[in-house]
Subunit: 140 residues, 2 copies
């Protein structure tokens, strides 16, 4: 078969070379076979797996969650209830994070708008940071 080097695998999957080795080291990716000169030789399936991992990481899933998702993918006859639960939990997290960031945004806007571009002792940025009680939006 054609040998896929780690560089090729990295390029095709969008995962960086050291990160590929890191995923192997933590057991997220099976150790591939080696060439005579001890260089890794990946299969096309490995590239799919790497792309899966990358996509999941981009979606914010933690490594342990991805590990579970991958074992699910490896056994397609299982119920997908776990996958569903993981995705739902992540969705809740994301929604929470968005709410929190919106409050933050409002807070920062107030700070920036209030800054009269003068000296620090009239600066609303510093003032608001110094006194949480001045926060106009209930957050954090």
């Amino acid at each position: 078969m054609k040998k896929i080097t780690i560089g090729e695998a990295a390029r095709q999957s969008g995962v960086k070379v050291p990160t590929v080795r890191y995923y192997e080291s933590i057991g997220l990716l099976a150790a591939p076979s080696r060439s005579e000169g001890n260089q890794r030789s990946f299969e096309p399936a490995d590239i799919n797996r790497l792309a899966f991992i990358r996509h999941a990481r981009e979606l914010g899933f933690e490594i342990e969650a991805i590990r579970t998702l991958l074992t699910l993918q490896d056994d397609p006859h299982q119920s997908c209830a776990s996958a569903d639960a993981i995705a739902k939990a992540r969705l809740v997290e994301v929604e929470q994070r968005i709410r929190s960031l919106m409050a933050l945004k409002a807070e920062l806007e107030t700070m920036v708008e209030g800054c009269g571009h003068g000296r620090v002792d009239q600066c609303r940025v510093i003032e608001v940071l110094a006194d949480h009680g001045q926060c106009t939006h209930p957050h954090h």
Copy 2:
């Protein structure tokens, strides 16, 4: 004067005890005076400073940004342009992060809705993760 222990300082500022020591170790907080038995003795001003740091951390500012904000606060005659710039940069980051999370949320919702709660081989969660091309929302 009344001695404020590290535990008191932590309680009043909302920063955890080991974190207070950590902030001291990285020079974010001046080393306080010590009691005869070598225990830290804080001043009220230290509590304000800790609360400032905590608030800034909650707002997502990095330690180095906070360090700059603190030096600004220490010298109120300076122009607050730096503070303003830091806050504005943070605002841009937050806005970007919100946009990205909204796309993410949409993606996760599609995944979860598409899950027929059957077996993995029909599961949209796994499927979408495996094939980035199925993403309906342009994100990451």
